[in-house]
């Protein structure tokens, strides 16, 4: 209840600040529309906005699921096999040196204007944080446990399954939470480079027609969607890894 009040107060304060900037500098609405104008645009274009929001949401959710799965699987392969670790590490490090955004035009060229190229963008952005967080957790298994497993005559496979993975689940959870923040960025950039629907597309369209209020409305919808996605993902992840997160003092 208290948290909700704080959030409401913080939103009210931001709106107030926004309106006062518009009023004090008497900015024209095609530069910075006031909150009331944006709210009107939001209501007037509700159907249009929700249609494009659904497109973006689908891209983000598929990208999040696919990117997290790929990242987790790669991390497991790298933790399990030393050759995989040695061979993949430089490639992955180099891939991170490339700005992912620069790949967007190529992805659009390869995968077309539809869902595929946006999902691919989201996957590319998500993959590394998930993979590296999980791998880090997998490789930080306490050495005492590994000694114990060795004297017990355990195989590498069961060490991975029964010690490394459970121990690293909280790290994987942290990676996936971060991915939920990044996924919408990937999808929107994919839409900017080439698409025929989605909130990113709508923003470009509105910009071309100087409908700044619609741009802001689309941005607010995107923001609310991203925050909701982050909170829901966080809750789901916490529930799944809860059993594995209480550490020994």
């Amino acid at each position: 209840m208290r948290a909700l009040l704080t959030i409401c107060a913080s939103i009210a304060l931001s709106l107030l600040l926004w309106q006062s900037v518009v009023s004090i500098f008497s900015l024209p609405h095609y530069i910075l529309p006031g909150p009331f104008r944006v709210a009107t645009a939001l209501i007037d274009n509700a159907a249009l906005l929700s249609e494009h929001a659904i497109t973006t949401l689908i891209e983000v959710v598929i990208g999040l699921l696919l990117g997290s799965t790929l990242g987790a699987l790669t991390a497991m392969a790298m933790a399990y096999s030393r050759p995989a670790r040695v061979l993949l590490k430089p490639v992955l490090a180099f891939s991170q040196a490339l700005p992912v955004f620069a790949l967007a035009p190529i992805l659009t060229l390869w995968l077309g204007y539809g869902l595929g190229s946006k999902v691919a963008m989201a996957v590319l952005i998500i993959f590394f944080p998930v993979m590296s967080a999980f791998l880090d957790g997998l490789l930080r298994t306490p050495s005492g446990w590994l000694d114990l497993a060795t004297t017990m005559g355990a195989s590498e496979r069961s060490i991975l399954l029964k010690m490394r993975i459970p121990n690293a689940l909280p790290s994987l959870g942290a990676g996936i939470k971060l991915a939920a923040v990044y996924a919408p960025i990937g999808a929107v950039i994919g839409e900017w480079v080439g698409s025929s629907s989605g909130l990113g597309y709508l923003m470009l369209l509105a910009s071309g027609r100087a409908k700044v209020d619609l741009m802001f409305a689309a941005m607010i919808v995107l923001g609310v969607m991203s925050v909701t996605l982050y909170l829901l993902t966080g809750r789901a992840v916490d529930r799944l890894v809860h059993r594995y997160s209480d550490r020994v003092a």
């Binding site: 005492g144 017990m152 195989s155 069961s158 029964k162 010690m163 594995y244 209480d246």
Partner: protein
């Protein structure tokens, strides 16, 4: 650089051999070599069992930390070895062992819900489940308070009856109480310290053992 050099260490079967020495002298490294675990040192020499068979697969180890998996409950922790090897768990035997370490009422608790002494009893039960003839103990009771430690020592002596036990310790009290023999590891090699004839575990107020303990402590202090 040589960690320690000595001609031979002999451990009598079905007895407790305590290895006493200052920290950093290489006691734990010695256990790791016997357990077949990697060390930072090179081991030159050979390890033989009196029956001529290799040691690997016949050693169980218990460390100072209980090494319990925090997400697993008591039974899962006790049966870790069988589960790691993909073997079927002998339920009756598990329940018997848990009963013998006195934790039958805590069967489904997780490590965070147990006290330090209880956790170390779970570790002992896990060691017993391995059913190995050679048991290596690396200061297993040193993190416990004095009272709990002496109780754990009695319990371990009772339950590890019939096993050949090699226990590393820096505590002269523990060595003189638990050992059939004490080997003193120091920079000049290994010295076999004669112990009272009484059968371990010696009583906590055993006069001879206490005297012995005092003498050992004096020598430990003089050495450093």
């Amino acid at each position: 650089m040589t960690l320690v050099e000595c001609n031979a260490i002999r451990c009598e079967a079905m007895q407790w051999t305590a290895i006493l020495g200052a920290s950093g002298i290489g006691k734990s490294t010695l256990l790791r070599v016997l357990a077949g675990l990697p060390t930072h040192w090179q081991f030159k020499g050979d390890i033989r069992a009196s029956d001529g068979n290799p040691l690997s697969g016949r050693v169980a180890m218990m460390a100072q930390q209980d090494l319990l998996l925090p997400w697993a409950d008591l039974i899962e922790n006790v049966t870790l070895g069988a589960r790691m090897r993909g073997e079927r768990v002998d339920t009756e035997y598990v329940l018997e062992i848990i009963d013998r370490v006195g934790l039958a009422d805590h069967m489904h608790k997780r490590p965070t819900q147990l006290s330090g002494g209880q956790r170390q009893r779970v570790a002992l039960a896990r060691t017993l489940m391995e059913n190995r003839p050679l048991v290596l103990l690396d200061e297993p009771f040193s993190a416990l308070d004095t009272r709990t430690r002496s109780q754990m020592q009695d319990l371990a002596a009772e339950l590890l009856e019939g096993c050949t036990v090699l226990m590393v310790t820096h505590d002269p009290a523990e060595a003189t109480r638990m050992g059939h023999r004490v080997l003193w590891l120091n920079s000049s090699g290994i010295e076999d310290i004669p112990l009272p004839d009484s059968k371990p575990p010696r009583a906590v107020d055993d006069a001879e053992a206490l005297m012995m303990q005092g003498q050992l402590l004096r020598r430990l202090r003089e050495e450093s």
